[in-house]
Symmetry: C2
Subunit: 407 residues, 2 copies
Amino acid sequence: MDINNERLLQYFKQFSAIGATPGGGVHRLALSDEDKQARDLFVELLHDLGAEVKIDDLGNIYGIKQGTNPEAEPVVIGSHLDSVPNGGKYDGAVGVLGALEVLATLVDAETTHQRTLIIVNFTNEEGARFPKPMIASGVLAGVYTTEDMHSLQDESGTTIREELERINYLGAPEHRLTNIDSFIELHIEQGPYLINENAHIGLVQGIHGLSWHDVKFTGKSDHAGPSPMKDRRDAGLSAMHALTRVEDYVLNLQDETRFTTGRFQLAPGVVNAVPGEARFSIDIRHPLNDTLKERIETIQQMIEDEAARRGVKSEMSDLSYMPPVPFSTRLLQAAERITSQKNIDAPQLYSGAGHDAMYMSHLGETLMLFIPSLDGVSHNEQEESRWEDIVTAVDVLGDLVLEQLNR
Amino acid sequence: MDINNERLLQYFKQFSAIGATPGGGVHRLALSDEDKQARDLFVELLHDLGAEVKIDDLGNIYGIKQGTNPEAEPVVIGSHLDSVPNGGKYDGAVGVLGALEVLATLVDAETTHQRTLIIVNFTNEEGARFPKPMIASGVLAGVYTTEDMHSLQDESGTTIREELERINYLGAPEHRLTNIDSFIELHIEQGPYLINENAHIGLVQGIHGLSWHDVKFTGKSDHAGPSPMKDRRDAGLSAMHALTRVEDYVLNLQDETRFTTGRFQLAPGVVNAVPGEARFSIDIRHPLNDTLKERIETIQQMIEDEAARRGVKSEMSDLSYMPPVPFSTRLLQAAERITSQKNIDAPQLYSGAGHDAMYMSHLGETLMLFIPSLDGVSHNEQEESRWEDIVTAVDVLGDLVLEQLNR
């Protein structure tokens, strides 16, 4: 699609200035004053383009360009304008602004299409201010209730509903998306895969499933001096042996399995005490549900075995489970066709992170397009993507959308 | 020495009641009201036995029984009456009360002796309330200054000097111990060695040297989802690999080396972030100075190598170093002779923990006698020693002291 590079850059500059941080990122927490500013600008630009604007009771903003067939289910594109604290200016925004540019191009060319096109900005995707990510698409998918999400509190105890009212974005429940034909989300990769592959765009096959667990090892606390090494039941070293063993196992698999321990603490936690207790988190991911379950089982067994080997007690509790989400094969093939016609190398990959597309896949056929992240860095001010890659991705998005609009 | 089992038991019961906890231990933090109560009782009992009582400017209490030769350097025995929070009733107290019983036995039998006998209670041995252990013997040894120790603060900002004044135990600097013939400290082992050896007493050859370090690994923080396992620079797993490798090395040595990691933390410290930073403590101990230094070097090298292997930066800083303290060979042989005459099996061992004896060895020939700790447990309410072992140890202590008094 022949998009307007200059206009897209203008959009990007305008939004990057809202909540801009000295370090070159943005600080635009969900439903904050900065988020309101970004929302207001988004609505104004939608109006300028002649789109109808609707807000639902979760604060999701929809810009609507009617199709010629009012019976046909709409095609939805977009992402989110909120950021993590001192985050980057690409995460989320690039998907909303790319969608806006596609809309603008269609309006400019006075293109008519069968299906209705909807540009969306989702509320609180990051889960950074209100501690649950993707709440708005989650409610649309029926995974969360409106009441629960409205009463989610930030650290100061302010609820989502209160903030939606304050910034004037508490819309009507009847404006919610229900049936859709398809949802396509453009987003930065937030990982190093595409950059390492020298690619300029990536087609996302689906989202990794994930399983979070809390593990507690209980051994025996001893004085670091008198207790001989061989008599110890050191919960800390026992846990470390278990985790390094699991890492070796996962590295040897050489597949899409991911294993992370992000939290690890010892008790009593003093220099001269053999730790009697270790608590740590594990995060296991894989794109296929059966394999994910197999991995969880194997890893739990390894951890238990390693604890038992040293006379340490292990307890594992489940924190959360999200099954893998495969995206639409039809949309994937369509995107393959378009990129191949344009001679663009477009490797396929899985998303390790969750996105609104995950829940939107409950409503219709879904696909994501990824833009490479320099150094794979994200969720901080150093986050960056090449401008030419963004332009390429919006171009591909436009063609893919146009095809769906007339399908 | 024919000690009075009943009287010793009475002493023990009286002191165990001061600061007694519901769980069967004592909570008698240095210079607290409970510590004052214990001190007052100790002074009263010394007076009852006709001993002269002196208090120095560190609050150390000395009970003095004059010898026939005023020129001869004194023999000193004792330990400490303070405890850790919710500690056990044996740690420290058993050494003070054993010394008191030896004094009482000598007084009862109207025994005269050449050297003066001094029974001592040291201030703040535990370093639990005021965060530096063995401050009083440390000042006597010239390792710490009086000013620094007087201004040590507890968590509420109260200084040692203020508390010494408040509880009326700020004595005169001229009462301090200076030259001594010998110091003998009876103490519980606080480790499992003697219990595992089925012994009833242990002769302590010296105190392990120790070296404390703070280590920081800096890798790269990544999102737990998108970042492939092989591309990560996970500071946490890198540190765990290093520490398990060191543990394997130390276990294989099968010697007196001790290695402990009591503190371990990850940053950013969330479930779904590959940790970019790991901070941990290491505590390395060995009874011989050259070997200790060798171990420190080897272990530091292993840690650096392991970090480098994964492209992780490692920084190690020294927190504290205490050289090993060998005790008096002459006193050790004397104790060996006495136990062997009594047909008591008395294995020799090193103390992994520090004690006032460590600093007292700067002032004269020093030895410690250890009483077995059930399960090796100490510094909590479950701490326990067999009464018959305590009696045996006080008996041996008495004979050893009597021999020194007339040497």
